[in-house]
């Protein structure tokens, strides 16, 4: 059988990633551009480059977007990380330069579908992908298929009277377990004069600390970095236990930079989840890292297209 090709695009807060992908999931051509202040223009620029590649005949364009998406219309209902996309009809924008099949999906949903296609979830019928970055996102695979629901796992409250979240809810998982939460907790500990090698980074301008700085410092043994990551991990474990009790998946696949500190952050999550989830459900769950990394979204977006055009 001849391979078909599709375009997968992943619009994130920092970069727009895009690729031409074949129906086996191989990336034939890939590019990346900073999302910038005019994300729609960046998208058009990327589309121009992709659509001028004459070596591949594509059967559609799939677009993963960081935010709440009305997939029936292709409209971004809300994008906290790319506020300029809120209200934009991405499908119509793409159709200005492409007349074929255009599909939109939330980025974490697309990433889950990508992991199902060629990644860590390749042989799994039921799993939940949790993306741990600036925020926390989720994507749910059941019966080998993407569940077309919001899966906003980061906005599940785990503390009824906890921290207010920008989303309007209180005690959201992402307020306790995301990279943003970890960075915030480290900064406030340093402000309170807790000792750490992190306070000497960036010539003492510790407000510039990144999640990567924190997990690398933690791996070197810094007590503050380790304790903040362990606490974030413990909270992640509470979220994972809820996900296990509700969705009884075969696996929870974790993606995102913080998983670089697997033996601190994720081990704490596993320990907490194992104490909290219903044991009959927990016993069958594997908690594992994603294998596609930043490519999961573009591969999943392309796979959504193949499901329609194959």
């Amino acid at each position: 059988m001849t391979l078909r090709h599709a375009i997968g695009i992943d619009i994130g807060g920092t970069n727009i990633r895009a690729a031409i992908i074949d129906s086996d999931g191989n990336v034939a051509f890939k590019l990346k551009e900073a999302t910038g202040d005019t994300p729609v223009e960046t998208l058009h620029n990327i589309l121009n480059i992709l659509l001028s590649q004459r070596s591949w005949d594509v059967c559609g364009i799939g677009i993963a977007i960081a935010g709440l998406i009305d997939t029936s219309k292709g409209v971004v209902m809300r994008s906290p990380n790319i506020p300029k996309l809120t209200g934009i009809n991405i499908k119509s924008e793409v159709e200005k330069s492409y007349k074929g099949l255009v599909l939109t999906e939330n980025d974490a949903n697309a990433a889950a579908f990508g992991e199902r296609f060629t990644g860590a979830g390749k042989n799994l019928e039921n799993f939940v992908l949790i993306t741990l970055g600036t925020g926390i996102g989720g994507g749910i695979i059941t019966g080998n298929n993407l569940l077309h629901v919001a899966a906003e796992i980061g906005h599940m409250s785990i503390n009824a009277n906890g921290k207010p979240c920008a989303c309007g809810n209180v005690g959201c998982l992402e307020s306790y377990a995301s990279a943003t939460a970890v960075i915030g907790n480290v900064i406030s500990e340093i402000e309170n004069e807790t000792d750490s090698i992190l306070k000497d980074l960036y010539n003492g301008n510790f407000y510039k600390i990144t999640a990567e700085d924190i997990y690398k410092t933690a791996l070197e043994g810094d007590p503050l970095a380790r304790s903040v990551l362990r606490e974030a991990g413990r909270n992640l474990g509470i979220g994972i236990a809820n996900v296990v009790n509700i969705l009884s998946p075969d696996a929870v696949i974790l993606a995102g930079g913080l998983t670089g500190a697997w033996h601190i952050y994720v081990d704490a999550a596993i320990k907490e989840a194992s104490k909290r989830a219903l044991k009959e459900l927990y016993n069958k769950v594997n908690i594992m890292p994603s294998s596609l990394g930043d490519d999961a979204g573009i591969i999943g977006a392309a796979k959504l297209v193949f499901e329609e055009c194959e």
Copy 2:
């Protein structure tokens, strides 16, 4: 087309309900027996009666069970309300007297499928049923089909450091919003000498108070009953907001005795959920009562059979 028939059985903590149901969802013959101390014997007794009814030729038996079910084997992994069923292979038990198709499912899942078939969810593609009783259960319908997952919504933690639950988790929704929680909170308020007409029921033996007493008294204006129900409702609203953010359903259907106090308990839930859920998702959700009541489980169990034998 000729109607087919199936047997639907719902094994609950108090009663085992059973019926012969036609493929339009009509109940042709129904019976109910107290679950008692020997639930497996009660089940065999009910099967004997049903299988001796010669007027209907059944194409299978569907069994809804209160507990965590391994549906591939038909085994009850855990049943907090019917401890004697834990570890029992219900499918094998039924096959002792019936050689055809036997399917098992969690009771709230079956009830959701029943509501989808002929009840409040008849015209809905995506909804979540929440059963509010001794515990809190859930069933999820997506794309018109039952999602075969645990859906143990009652064991979602909404308070990371909250009340310990018998399940092993901490801060479970059902510890705050179930009938058991409502009764416990009323009793502890009366013990602390909060005034209420409830304390005079049962000749002052207020430990006998039921959820029905509480919601009826609340409807008559009793301040204690109203305040306890409102607080339970507020917590239910936190759970509903989490469900909406994760599963973005078209409706949340509420079942169980406590919904008799809809304008106190459920109104408080709706108010809280409306403040907490992502507004784009909340705006499309209807929160509505179930329409099949206690029959939802048997109808859903029978419908599972029709899906296989039609």
